[in-house]
Each structure stands twice: as C-alpha cells, then as structure tokens.
C-alpha cells in the first residue's frame, strides 16, 4: 500500500486551492462580521453589533419574503415544466429527443448576463420586437417592467426560462434509469398511461426531482445577475431579492459591516440546503 504521505500529496493541491478560495474566506468573513467596519477596515470588536443593526433594518423582512416568493415560484415552475418536457422528449426517440434537448438547454448554456440582456431587448424593451408588435396590434402603452408585480413576474419568467434546461437533463437521466420492463409489465396488467406515470415514473423520479429542487433553490437564492441586468431591483425595490441586496450593500453603498453579516446569515441558510444536497448527491444514473 502507498504511504499516507503519498495519498495526501494527491489531494493536497486541490484542497490548498479550495481552502484559499472557499473555506478560509467563510471563517475570515465570520470573524470580520464581528467588527465595526469603517471604509473597509476593522475598527473595533462589536460582537453581534452588525447583526443587530441588520436585523432592525426595516427593509430586510420585505426583501426576505420577496426572495421566498421568487425562489419558490421559480423552483416550482421550472421543475413542473421540465418534468412535462422530459417525459415528452423521452418518448421522442434518440435523435429527435437529443435535438429537442439541445434547443431547450440553449438559454442555460449562454451566460446569464447575455441571456437576460437579449431577453430584455427582444421581449421587454419598448423599441424591441415584442412590444413593437404589440403596438402594431393596438396595445399601446405596454411597459412590462414598470409595474411592481409585472416586474417580479418577468424576473421569475426569465429565471425559469434560464434553468429549464438543467432540470430537464437531470430528469431525463432519471427517466433513462427506469427499466422499461416496469412500464411494460404495468401495461400488460392494463394500466393506463396516466397510471404508469403517476404510480411508476413519478415515484422512481423522487431522487432526481429532490436534487433539482435543492439545486434550483440554491441557485435562485444566490442569483445576482438576473435581477441586476433585468430590473436593477426595481421598480422601487419590487425585485430586490437577497443576493442583490447583499451585493448592493457591499459594492454600491460600501457598507461591508452589514454586507458581511448578511452574507454569513445567507451562508448558514445555504448550508442547510447543502446538507440536503449531500444526502442526495450519491444518486447515480
């Protein structure tokens, strides 16, 4: 057998990089959040002072609930749409299915900045394609991003659009893992398509579906780009969700004290989701 030293030398470089970029900053960030921060410099230990200041900030509660609405709508819609599409594509046969799959993952593969920018230009800009078309059809005065609920609706729509491809691929992998004999046996026993779907397919997709829900939740509660490029958080603060809030606190208003304490709290929330992810990640197709 190899010595302990050799084994460790195989994993050490990778862990050195991960420690520097992922693990150490988390610990340093927590320690940093316990200080009063002026102009980016720690000026005195204040314990949980930043947290107290943050939690009494009246805007935070609204931002939190907005994030919950945004994330749950995005996750639910993405999963439901991807599930329907996956079952449909799975029945298409290999070549046609693959092409359909590639068309669906296109928005996922393009960067969020560019995808959101192009979406805005085609569908939401007042001299863009869709609004001009609407005007020709007699709908004048369409300003989809000016209304608070409309803006949130579009933010959710763009986020769903961007993520369907990912969810689709994971569900398709899950579907391919279901032995065909199961469906055939059920069909011989006289089960309908719907019965096969609801009592065989769906239960066997439990793990990939849960995995998707966790990963999509994590990605929705951490997305800065989509609101930044689509709405800038507006109108007012109608689409200001937590990740954008923490980004603005740090890099727009340079309030690193409240930004770091908010980041630490968000990180703790993420860890709960990550623990759920770890339980499911051993799932193999």
């Amino acid at each position: 057998m190899q010595s302990r030293l050799t084994s460790m030398s195989y994993v050490l470089p990778a862990f050195a990089a991960m420690t520097l970029v992922l693990f150490a900053p988390v610990i340093y960030g927590f320690w940093f959040s316990l200080y009063r921060i002026q102009y980016g410099v720690q000026t005195g230990f204040i314990g949980l002072g930043n947290y107290a200041r943050l939690l009494t900030d009246p805007s935070l509660g609204a931002t939190f609930w907005r994030t919950v609405v945004f994330a749950s709508a995005t996750v639910a819609l993405t999963t439901a749409i991807a599930l329907c599409l996956a079952v449909w594509i799975n029945g298409l046969g290999n070549r046609r299915g693959f092409i359909a799959q590639m068309i669906i993952i296109l928005p996922w593969i393009i960067s969020t900045v560019v995808a959101t920018l192009l979406f805005r230009w085609v569908f939401l800009n007042d001299i863009g394609l869709a609004i001009s078309l609407a005007r020709t059809l007699g709908f004048s005065n369409v300003h989809p991003l000016n209304d608070p609920n409309g803006a949130m609706g579009w933010l959710i729509a763009v986020s769903v659009w961007k993520r369907i491809g990912y969810a689709l691929i994971i569900i398709l992998a899950g579907l391919k893992g279901i032995p065909e004999d199961y469906n055939e046996a059920a069909r011989i026993d006289g089960a309908s398509d719907w019965q096969i779907f609801s009592s065989i397919t769906l239960p066997l997709l439990k793990t990939p579906l849960l995995l998707i829900v966790i990963v999509l939740t994590l990605s929705s509660v951490n997305t800065v780009e989509t609101p930044l490029v689509l709405t800038g958080g507006g109108p007012g603060s109608a689409t200001r969700i937590l990740p954008m809030d923490v980004f603005d606190r740090a890099f727009l208003t340079y309030d690193l004290g409240s930004a770091s304490s908010l980041a630490v709290m968000m990180f703790c929330g993420n860890v709960l989701l990550v623990l759920a992810y770890v339980r499911l990640a051993r799932w193999k197709v």
């Binding site: 862990f15 669906i104 560019v114 990605s219 997305t223």
Partner: protein, 295 residues
C-alpha cells in the same frame, strides 16, 4: 431506415414501450415546446440581426426583419473600445482554469477512489458539499472579496483563474471520481506488479481511460468560467484584466440605449459558447448528468 434496424435487433428498446403522455397532454407539451423554441432561439437570432443594423434601421418603426443593409459598424465600435483584448483575456482565463482544474482534480479523484488515508471521508464530504456552494453563491462572494482584498490577491492576472479553478474543482473531482469507480482495480494491481508506481498508473492507465469524464468536466469548467460575471466584476477593476461578462455589463451603462453595439458585444461574447454547444453538446449533457449540479 431506423425502423429496419430496430426490427433487426428486437432486444433494442423501441419507442412504443416508453412512458408516454396522454394525448391531450402530449399536445399541450408540444405546444409548450414550440413556444420554448421561439423564446430560446429568437433572442439569439434577433440579437444577430440587431447587431448588423445601422442606427437608423434600429430605430425604424415597426422593426424590420430582413429589409435593411447589413453593416459591421457596431462591431467596429465594439472592437475599437478594446473588446478583442477582453475576449483574449477571457480565453486565457478559461483555458487556464480548465487545465488547472483537470490537473488538480484527476489526482485528487484518484486518491479518493483508490487510497485509504486519514480524514478521507471527511474531505470527500467537504468536496461534495462544496459543489453547489462554489458555483455562484452570492453568500460566498462577500467573504471571498474581503479575504482576497486583505491578502492583496485581487486585481492580479492570477486572481480569476485561481478562483475559477477552486470553484470548478469540487464538481470536477466528483465527475472524475464517478468514472474512476468503473475502472477495474485489477489494472492498477497488474501495473504495480510490473513495477509501475502510482504516478505511472495515473499517467498511463487512469488518464487515458478517464478521458470522457475529463472532457465533460473540462467543458463545464470552460463554460462556467466563460460565463462567470459576479466574481469577476468585483475582484478585478483593471480594464486589461476584465473578462467578457463584466465588459458586456459595463457596455449597458456605456452605450445606454444603443442596442446595436450592445448586441454586437453580446454576439461576440457567445460565439465560443455556441461553438462548444454545437461541437461538444453531448459532453455538456454528460457532464451535467454526471455532476448532477448547477442550476
């Protein structure tokens, strides 16, 4: 043609036996798919057309589809503002990230799969837990920024490739380890008896056999670093070091409502991704499936 092959090979799974949607649902879902085709392809097509329009054609109402004289003036404006340098830097970042990620992930995955060492399962757990966190968690951004500023590691040529490599590593290790599990250990043992050491096994046996996994992990690492925006927008502010996504974002402020140059920059920014998508689509799908992550 396909049907005759299917008939000749009865063991092959035919379409008829797959789960199918009830007819009403099938129609609804195909309509949904048709809608998605429009919503997915139109922005790219309309983006290309917009980028080729002159200022007058752009503001014409109603917008013209093909009835305009294509011009490259938008591309010229974007290029004169230094965009080619931006693309060059981004390619270097992405390639550096891919090489470093694979070079660090392969030995780590090998050790996790083949060796027993102290803390092995704890470290592996840490890798798996880092997969979803490392890929764009806003919560990690602030601590990372503060820490890197404190150490003076921001705004250097190595800042972004270093961060991207660390971010891509957990998933790459996980994908490669998944493949190593399927390579029989007898091969290692035979090589050991023949006098090879572990490095020789890794280089001559494991590396060639794990090429598909390395390809899948590499493609995802390339796409991930090419598309990354948030980290690069806060970690570097020297324009010479700025990669493509923050550059395009800055154009939004710089060009304002001038969608011509804006879409020209966006189109130049997605060319490499579209090429990879067309040439290596299968690797992307397989990477996603193996890694099961990144929403």
């Amino acid at each position: 043609m396909t049907s005759s092959i299917d008939a000749a090979a009865p063991s092959r799974r035919t379409r008829a036996r797959r789960v199918k949607l009830p007819p009403a649902w099938a129609i609804a879902v195909s309509l949904l798919f048709a809608l998605l085709c429009v919503v997915n392809l139109l922005p790219v097509i309309w983006g290309i057309l917009t980028s080729l329009k002159s200022q007058e054609d752009l503001f014409r109402y109603p917008p013209t589809l093909l009835d305009f004289t294509p011009t490259l003036e938008n591309y010229e404006r974007v290029i004169t503002s230094g965009f080619l340098g931006t693309l060059q830097v981004t390619i270097l970042y992405a390639c550096g990230t891919v090489l470093a990620t694979l070079a660090l992930a392969l030995p780590a995955a090998y050790a996790f799969d083949r060796f027993e060492f102290p803390l092995r399962s704890t470290l592996l757990l840490l890798v798996v837990a880092s997969i979803p966190l490392s890929l764009g968690a806003a919560a990690l951004l602030i601590p990372n920024y503060i820490f890197f500023t404190r150490l003076g590691l921001t705004n250097a040529w190595f800042t972004l490739p270093l961060i991207y490599t660390a971010n891509q590593l957990p998933m790459a290790i996980w994908i490669v380890k998944g493949t190593l599990e399927t390579i029989p250990r007898e091969l290692d043992e035979a090589a050991l008896i023949d006098g090879s050491d572990h490095f020789g096994i890794l280089w001559r046996i494991i590396l060639p056999l794990s090429r598909p996994a390395l390809g899948a992990a590499g493609v995802l690492a390339f796409v991930g670093s090419w598309n990354e925006f948030v980290v690069s927008s806060v970690m570097v502010d020297n324009p010479a070091l700025r990669p493509v996504q923050p550059a395009i974002y800055n154009f939004i402020g710089y060009f304002g409502r001038e969608w011509g140059p804006l879409t020209a920059a966006a189109m130049m920014g997605i060319v490499p991704i579209l090429l990879i998508f067309i040439l290596l689509g299968r690797q992307i799908v397989s990477g996603l499936t193996r890694g099961s992550v990144k929403g």
